[in-house]
């Protein structure tokens, strides 16, 4: 087993709508004196992808409806922000203590449908990409075309979780890496057969990336090298638990 390295890609400029993220990433990799390799995992923060895809909304242009106004008043939030949170969601899972937890149209359960004001120009908010797996696939394809190498791409966002304080970075989109690394049916060295062990590799990759970027350094991407993974075209959408199996719906 080799060591795993997480290399932050510094010096990437503020991402504008229409920006060529693959190009910005390859330039940054070159500045780090690295060359992209097949098997590398490129982790890109959601905010950079959302900006490149123009998923920014001016709050001043949002008209909150009655449901948004009620929920905003109850939770002490900007009604225009809450209107966007509701539009991006299929249901409100919980609301309380100034927090609104929703299920997004992608099936993710997170605070505020992922709508976020941090690291965005004043007066604007960023929405999640419409289809983060497709975003990852597009960036991967551009990296492949430019280099002839086949990396995996993971798009990460910062999610809270029940029962534990704080947040961890998780994957919201991926391409070229199997989201789960299944050990089901494998036997440990005592002959015991594993029945449920399926590490969510893409989420662990996203968390490892966060260790090297932090939140305020303007580092939107990292290269992770040395992770063993199976290639797969199935994206993060395959991680969403089926309703019928979900004990927490």
């Amino acid at each position: 087993m080799r060591k795993v390295e997480v290399v932050p890609l510094r010096g990437i400029p503020e991402v504008s709508p229409g920006a060529d993220l693959a190009r910005l990433i390859l330039d940054a990799i070159r500045r780090e004196k690295l060359r992209l390799r097949s098997g590398d995992v490129i982790v890109i923060k959601q905010k950079a992808v959302s900006k490149a895809e123009g998923r920014l909304v001016a709050l001043a242009k949002v008209r909150p409806g009655p449901k948004a106004r009620r929920l905003a008043a109850a939770q002490g939030k900007d009604p225009r922000l809450v209107e966007l949170i509701l539009r991006e969601s299929v249901r409100v899972v919980r609301a309380g203590h100034g927090v609104i937890i929703t299920e997004t149209r992608h099936g993710f359960v997170c605070a505020n449908s992922g709508v976020d004001q941090s690291n965005v120009k004043s007066g604007y908010v960023a929405l999640l990409p419409v289809d983060p797996d497709r975003s990852a696939a597009r960036i991967r394809e551009a990296l492949r075309r430019a280099t002839g190498k086949d990396p995996a791409v993971v798009i990460s966002d910062t999610f809270g979780r029940p029962w534990r304080k704080g947040q961890t970075d998780v994957a919201i989109g991926s391409s070229g890496i199997s989201p789960l690394s299944s050990y089901v049916g494998a036997k440990d060295r005592f002959g015991y057969e594993l029945r449920v062990t399926e590490p969510a590799l893409v989420d662990e990759v996203a968390s490892a990336a966060e260790l090297a970027t932090g939140k305020l350094r303007g580092i939107p991407a990292v290269v992770i090298r040395g992770v063993e993974y199976r290639r797969s075209e199935g994206g993060v959408k395959t991680l969403v638990m089926e309703k019928s199996r979900d004990l927490f719906r």
Copy 2:
């Protein structure tokens, strides 16, 4: 920002009750041609710590009570295993589809109270350490005494989560590293003040470690180098959400 490196510590023998984990880890670090540094984070898997602390139970010696027998029948599990799950828990959070989610005496919400048969000799199960923060502190103190360096120690376990398939490694004990890396009150480069951003650094560290160990290679520990963290004596118990703030109780 430096790169982050995760170095798996190979060649550590099967851990027996009473084993000196600090010594086994230092020997393995030397075999990797490394030297322990202050600021390194040593991540150790729960199973190794539980074995060293003798937290192994022979299933044949467990007498299941009526509650355990009922729950075991409903979920298709071994009643002796369920008896241990109940003894290690303060409440059953959910049960269904053959899964029992409990809150442990530590306040962790996880499958089977962390009681686990994998990577344990046949007929036995491993329980979580009684006080994983203290376990981490003891190992850290032994590493300090032996080397004069001050690393952090994190004890990791594999937990599932609601709404998403698969599991990620999270921290169940820590010493010398602040579990949360708070940005509350900090401003981003657009002047926006962060209000809730608190990455759960110890959980991200645990996930990064898992990328380098996998589940079946018999690698119970890693060294992580290059993570920026605040020293802290507050362990993972400070991550447990207060009941009054928990939207998911």
